[in-house]
Each structure stands twice: as structure tokens, then as C-alpha cells.
């Protein structure tokens, strides 16, 4: 009797998960991410001397090769960190001005969000291949791995607390095991993305920031070595995945 009841409940949960999956597919079909790409394209025209790694002004395929080491800055950068660098060099803006609004709102996306949408879209179909040969690139990936398992904050969380075991979920959200390639690939191939619950276009720097917020730590600085290293580690784990974004998230 108890076993039958239990089986029935599990069946219900299975159906619920299938329906949520269908919900996500329908939402993805109707994603307005392209609106952000339009805005990003206009912004890129004002900084198209920026070198994203493939030469000044080259956007095609550039996102799929990030993060990578940049000689001019002598450090590893992800897309957003590189854009910030270009704003302060190519555009000659102050760091204070360029970082005044790194994450936007539904009413007003940030420059980084719109630019990320446009630039990432120009890598559709390209395989993810972040830099992994320069000593600083190797160190960045290694640091990212350490950070991933580092338990910290009042709730004792590490990234692996939620993203370390197969088949788990938070509420109805399946949790990808991000240190394993088969899970990291589809995830990294879909960021940045339009986020349905907040009507915002969200980036990887935002994702790192908001995960730390929920880990109850202080705030990581935008474009810091910590956030870049985590993004680098995750992208290196997803290496080889054909880029399909910008995607759509819960």
C-alpha cells in the first residue's frame, strides 16, 4: 500500500518535471533575446576598435575563444572584463563611469548585457575553446576549480553544494554538475541568456555575482580574478561544445 502510494507520487513528480521541461522549451521559442542583440549591435559600433582576441573589431567567433590571456592587459579576461578594458582604453572612459551600472534592470539593460547579447550571438555554431595554454590561463583554470569547491560564508556553501551531485534540483530547477563536461557543455553553450523570471538579459558575470549573493558572502567585484577564474574553469570544462546562445533561462 505504502509502496503503491509512493510510486504514484513519484509518477506525479515525473509528470511535473516533464511538463516543466515543456514549459521551458515553449518559453525558449518565444525568447526576446534578439531585442537585446539589436541594442548591443548599436553599442558595439561605438567601440569597434576593441580587440576581443581575434583582432581589432573582429566579433565573429570571438566569444567562443574567451576567456583568454590578453598581452596588452597582462591578464586573463572574460568577455565582460574585456569590454570594460575597451571602454577605459578605446573609449577613454573612466573606470568609475564604465562600471557605474554593470548589471541593468528590466527597464534599462546595462551596456554589458546588450553588448554580451550581440557579441555572443556572433559565435553561434562556433565551438567553445577558451585559452588554456598560457601559464596565466592554466593558473586561472586551476584557481577556478579550487574556488568551485571552496566552502565559505554563513551557510557553508561551495559551488559544488548545489552543482556537485548528479540528479539533484532546487525547487523544480535541475542542477547541472558543472565540473563535469557533459553537464557544463549545454549550460555554457547557452549563456548569456534572457531570464524569464525578471525579464532581464543576464550575463556570466551576473551569474557569478548572484550565486555568491545566495551563498551569503560579500560581493565579488565585477571582472575580478575570482569571477573570471570561475567562468574560465566552467568554459574550459565545457570545451568543444558548439555555442547555441544567447539562451533562455527560468
Amino acid at each position: 500500500m505504502a509502496a503503491a502510494l509512493c510510486a504514484a507520487t513519484t509518477g506525479l513528480a515525473q509528470d511535473a518535471r516533464k511538463e516543466i521541461q515543456r514549459y521551458r522549451e515553449m518559453v525558449a521559442e518565444g525568447s526576446p533575446a534578439e531585442l537585446f542583440e539589436l541594442e548591443g549591435e548599436a553599442l558595439w559600433k561605438k567601440m569597434d576598435k576593441c580587440d576581443l582576441g581575434l583582432g581589432p573589431g573582429v566579433v565573429k567567433g570571438a566569444y567562443a575563444r574567451l576567456p583568454r590571456y590578453f598581452k596588452d592587459a597582462d591578464r586573463v579576461m572574460d568577455l565582460e572584463t574585456r569590454l570594460l578594458y575597451c571602454m577605459t582604453t578605446v573609449q577613454g572612459r573612466s573606470a568609475k563611469d564604465a562600471t557605474a551600472r554593470v548589471f541593468g534592470s528590466a527597464d534599462r539593460p546595462s551596456e554589458f548585457e546588450s553588448l554580451s547579447a550581440y557579441i555572443a550571438a556572433q559565435s553561434r555554431g562556433a565551438r567553445l575553446e577558451p585559452g588554456a595554454t598560457h601559464p596565466k590561463e592554466k593558473a586561472s583554470i586551476a584557481l577556478g576549480r579550487e574556488l568551485f569547491f571552496h566552502r565559505v560564508g554563513p551557510w557553508d556553501f561551495s559551488c559544488a553544494s548545489c552543482h556537485g551531485t548528479e540528479g539533484e534540483r532546487i525547487r523544480m530547477q535541475d542542477l547541472p554538475v558543472l565540473h563535469q563536461p557533459q553537464y557544463a557543455r549545454p549550460v555554457m553553450a547557452s549563456w548569456p541568456a534572457y531570464r524569464v523570471s525578471t525579464s532581464q538579459f543576464v550575463t556570466l558575470q551576473w551569474r557569478m555575482n548572484d550565486c555568491f549573493r545566495q551563498m551569503r558572502t560579500p560581493e565579488p567585484t565585477f571582472g575580478s580574478e575570482t569571477t573570471v577564474a570561475l567562468i574560465h574553469f566552467l568554459t574550459a570544462t565545457a570545451k568543444g561544445a558548439p555555442y547555441k546562445g544567447p539562451g533562455s533561462k527560468r
Partner: protein, 145 residues
Amino acid sequence: MNRLRRTLVAALAFAVLRPLSALAAWNKDAFGAKTAADALKSLGIGEAAPSKELAIDAPQIAENGAVVPIEVSSSIPGTRAISVIIEKNPFPLVARFEFKEGALPFVKVNVKMGETSDIRAIAEAGGKSYSATREVKVTIGGCGG
């Protein structure tokens, strides 16, 4: 900011401005109605018969009430309008689509739902009205923090 917007407009090669008068009126009474019955009355829609030829496609469970994708299509001959009602929303009438010669009675749109509710579609064809309903459960996703 203004300059940015202007650049953007320039980038939209096909954007054209149109006078407001080109668009039809908006039924204030129907959209302001607090019950489905009142909304339908304001639209001049009477008793609707359930029909299998009117289909609503929607996920049974929505992870987020702010975006619920729905698709409504009718194979009832002569369908000239489809209205969409979310029973438990504070203002149940969500939309009314009139299909003229040249359009198929089909629409896909994302809607907001305050809570778990029936979604009702009403098709008007040949002076009669037909209905279909479908329940969508609204849940909470993510960490809620």
C-alpha cells in the same frame, strides 16, 4: 541616452512611424471587468458551446507566472475572432484577436498568471461562440532568494 536611442532607430532599417488612428479602439469595459462573465458580456459574447475544434496548447505547469506561453488555434469554419481569458486573474480578459480575410485563426503569445487557473479561449464563428479551457498550474522556481 537620446543619442543612443537615435542610433538604434537608425539601425532599424524598417522602422516606420504610424499614426495612432490607424488602430482600432480598445474595449475599456471588457478589459476592466473583474469577472469572466462581465468581460464576455462587454464583448457581446453570449453562451459559448465547448468545442473540440478550438485548441489551447500550454504547459500544464508553469515555472513562472510572469511568462506562460500559450497557443490558441481554431479549425471551426469562419472563425473571425478569438478571445483569451484567465479566470483567476484580477482582470480576466487578456486579449481579443480579430482575424480578417487572409489570416488563419491562430495566435501564440506569452501571458501573465497571478496563480494557478483555468485558461479559457472563446472563438466567434458564424454568429455563434465556442469555448475551450485548459488548466495551468503556477509554481515557484529557483532559490526564492
